[in-house]
Subunit: 333 residues, 2 copies
């Protein structure tokens, strides 16, 4: 039953060299005579020796593992980022410990602590509600932490994002240009920096530029779920809105379908523009116009940035802003 594990010591003995030499060939250290290398490799192959990464981690203080904190893998926006992260991580020989946080502060802190206990070499954090406690943990961490697709108003951590303010402003301006005066702002919790400090700011800016008064009756704070969006219709109509900017695609799909099901024509009577350009935008009918973001790239770049930080390479810019766009589909005129 017990599977015998062969260690570096066994290899050394069989090959009649020291552990140090075995370690050298395993790690590709050039200071080994070709003949010796060959001999060792043969033994490694014969014994089917596989280095124990845990022991290696203890000795070298590097685990080639990074922690990824994600609100919910099930959300298309975040899973797209996660894919970018994993691909680049794999490219650089890192593995990812992935944990769902539900954007719950307590859970985030706890998870962060277990990640640090596991000696991850770096951390990628997704989530828009960076509490003071969390920030304190980031600071305490000896592993670099980068935010991906997430913002913290304090801007204390390296991060990769798009310019949310400008993107939202542009999206809302688009709606205004189509003649809409009463534009709803639909998002998740206002406790999240991305909503409160960025999107809303973009929204207000667009209104102001167009000389439209801001009316908080048109601001809808809800959950990032399809159902939440779907049940928003009565309120939206009651408020007299004729268009909406929505902060999440799933939520937007809900809003749109809720409208449609209530007999409101989209985009004829009501325009909808969403934020994340996930696959969903193409699946629903009408297809949803959206701010476009290089989702995969945000994850990929964040991971790439993290590798640099982990290697203490100099980084010219700690917060990188990727380009966004606006994709007109069929939920807007």
């Amino acid at each position: 039953m017990e599977k015998q594990t062969v260690t570096i010591y066994d290899v050394a003995r069989e090959a009649a060299v020291s552990m140090a030499t075995v370690s050298r060939v395993v790690n590709g250290n050039p200071n080994v005579k070709p003949a010796t290398r060959k001999k060792v490799l043969e033994v490694i192959d014969r014994l089917d020796y596989r280095p124990n990464a845990v022991a290696r981690g203890l000795a070298s203080k590097k685990t080639t593992t990074i922690g990824v904190i994600i609100p919910d893998v099930t959300n298309a926006y975040f899973s797209s980022l996660a894919r970018g992260i994993d691909d680049i991580a794999m490219m650089y020989k890192y593995n990812i410990i992935l944990t769902n946080s539900d954007e719950n502060g307590g859970k985030e802190v706890q998870v962060l602590n277990t990640l640090m206990a596991k000696q991850v070499d770096g951390i990628i954090f997704m989530g828009n509600q960076v509490t003071d406690e969390l920030r304190e943990e980031f600071r305490r961490s000896k592993a670099p932490v980068v935010l991906a697709g997430s913002v913290d108003a304090e801007k204390t951590q390296p991060s990769v994002n798009i310019d949310y303010v400008a993107a939202v402003a542009e999206a809302v301006k688009n709606l205004i240009d189509h003649g809409n005066q009463k534009i709803a702002f639909v998002s998740g919790s206002m406790k999240q920096a991305i909503n409160h400090d960025y999107r809303l700011k973009g929204y207000k800016k667009a209104l102001k530029d167009a000389g439209i008064a801001y009316d908080d009756k048109l601001v809808f704070e809800t959950d990032y779920t399809y159902k939440a969006g779907q049940s928003l219709e009565p309120a939206l109509s009651a408020a007299g809105a004729t268009a909406a900017f929505v902060g999440d695609d799933e939520l937007a799909a809900g809003v749109m379908n809720g409208l449609t099901d209530a007999g409101v024509d989209v985009p004829g009577e009501f325009e909808v523009i969403t934020s994340n350009d996930t696959k969903l935008t193409e699946l629903v009918r009408p297809k949803m116009s959206s701010i476009t973001q290089p989702l995969y790239d945000i994850g990929a770049v964040a991971m790439r940035l993290l590798t640099k930080l982990m290697n203490n390479e100099s980084v010219d810019e700690n917060t990188v802003i990727l380009p966004y766009g606006l994709m007109k589909r069929s939920s807007t005129k």
Copy 2:
């Protein structure tokens, strides 16, 4: 710059006890006098001591980490399973190393090896193409491996699934009952056991039970992507099909939208039933009828099963079959 790490030794010194005792209180070993425990806990708190999980892993040969191999996190079916896995894992104090395999045999083997090198305590594998090489790796692994939402015709590994044959048969029967004679079978690669050995079998069974001849012109093997589905319309019509069973929701959404865009009325002229009951089924219009599966639970149960295996607990049934259902929405009559 260097963050000083405090070790168990520091705590022992400060508390004037041995490392063994500190270890005992950290691990909740009852054989410690309350007074001693209190003293140690105070020091731990004062020094902000945090046990190094890597060292712990080396000494105890347990990492409280499990490996999860997933075809693509971005796919709603798999990410739902992943969520179930992670939640239960967290409940049992495990973390997850998540890696995307793209169902690519070579990558799977490689990933499996790095997971084993990292000494994971267990592995959950998702993917339906278990090659001989892969099977061999599973066997070689000292960590238990369970398949989640995936089947291997050889049935050599513990797994958690639904009864695909029966589910598909029922779905197809439903289509037949609506008067369809030419029912397309649309799935991913036939190299995958789930398609070739399970779904197709269910499909054939339903046809046979209804006395309909099997026609391989109605079998469409394609990718699990929206685009692939969308571009299937001409072929589907050309084959004279009036209904389709589809093996993946995203693919099904593509099929359905492709049909609709080509002016075919769903479900009036063409019925579609899909397989995974992910969120997508509710987002599209018409909403898609689907086989229902307890997605989250498949992941959760797989993880629970794995914990038992890791603890060498006796397990009454190595392959657990969860109940499925059929949800009629609007893509079928």
